[in-house]
Symmetry: C2
Subunit: 233 residues, 2 copies
């Protein structure tokens, strides 16, 4: 599995009408990627796509589809859904996933999903939401965990970000492709976070950042320091 | 409990002869703090203190004592011990701790402590090594979790660091004192990480950084971005 020139492999952003999904659509659409925003509701997906197109301009290649159709039309599937909907959605989409697809999972098992605090996480039996995802997709589909620690609010603005994206996966090629996509977002550096099992740490960092956001009314992100330049991206 | 002018309250660095302990002794000693390096072996403590004094110069106020004596001579106790020794040492030191003391715990429950990988953590029943510490100290002693993500190797150099220190505690005054101490290290910004329970996340970040250090031969640290200036210390 090799990375292709920008725009050749469409990216479906599943559950993509929220700030994280539309923010990624905006950033990647600007970078020349072909984006399909997916939603349970086709019309909402098309409205979100139209809004993103308007912000990018006439060169934008951003469309909207119902989630399953988006899934079937792309082999890079970016998942931006709340944890409480992740497992059911993946079960539903499984038949639409083509062999060789990549699922990039940004799900964080925040306790707010079950009425708790967004500054706490739930324990996931498999170790992390990303590992749960890996159990639910077809065998020939790779799961990559990434983008958990990027502020959705800042992603949806036009300003460069000040944040690193830690990428965890058991598939090195899928991880590399994801790091390349992350690095297309202005201000973002991408880092190898190791195996998918490490997603448990990266997911939990989000809860820590949420707590800081609540205390300080901010949009916290993280940077990793102290590594050689070759480590970034 | 209020913070005192530099040097008035001695800081005992328990298990302080390793790179993290001597690095903190060096940085705080330079900032004018009174430091007692503690060790199981009084002579090793005194040797480590002499080496630190030599690096700081004649104004240094750094001595060495056996751990229990160090503990009795100070009410700020900085714990820099491997996880596998933490519980036993705290039980041993408990009688020497004075009411109103602060234990600053930097323990990370790395799996390497039981022969596993330093890029993985062990589950701690209480949630984190810091919460285990809180269970083992006298009731009148506050526990603060901090300094987990600072590279011990870089701490032991003379260069400014490029790292934030996330401070977690259920005692706001003890947390503030710890943030003030952290901010005395050149290059370090201190941040409120919330309650002590959040130490579980901060401790695990270290395992993630260790993995990055192994992959990239680096000395990884973290910075938190996106918060207002008032959030930093």
């Amino acid at each position: 599995m090799n990375s292709s020139p920008a725009g050749v492999r469409p990216i479906a952003i599943i559950g993509g009408t929220g700030p994280a999904g539309t923010g990624l659509a905006l950033r990647w659409g600007r970078a020349g990627e072909t984006i399909i925003i997916g939603s349970r509701d086709e019309q909402r997906a098309q409205q979100a796509a139209a809004a993103v197109r308007q912000r990018i301009g006439p060169q934008a290649n951003v469309s909207g589809m119902e989630n399953s159709a988006a899934c079937a039309a792309a082999d890079i599937l970016m998942l931006t859904v709340p944890f409480e909907g992740q497992a059911a959605l993946l079960k539903e989409l499984k038949p639409a996933m083509t062999a060789g697809s990549i699922v990039i999972d940004a799900t964080v098992p925040l306790a707010s999903g079950v009425g708790g605090r967004a500054s706490r996480t739930l324990g996931v039996w498999q170790g992390s939401a990303a590992q749960q995802a890996a159990e639910l997709v077809p065998k020939e589909v790779s799961v990559v965990a990434a983008f958990h620690n990027v502020s959705a609010d800042l992603l949806a603005t036009d300003a460069p970000l000040d944040c690193d994206v830690i990428v965890c996966s058991d598939d090195p090629d899928a991880a590399q492709l994801t790091r390349e996509l992350a690095a297309k977002i202005p201000g973002v550096r991408a880092l190898d976070g190791g195996k998918l099992e490490n997603a448990r740490i990266v997911e939990q960092i989000t809860a820590l950042l949420v707590g800081m956001n609540i205390r300080h009314k901010g949009h916290a992100g993280i940077r990793i320091t102290g590594l050689p330049p070759s480590a970034y991206r």
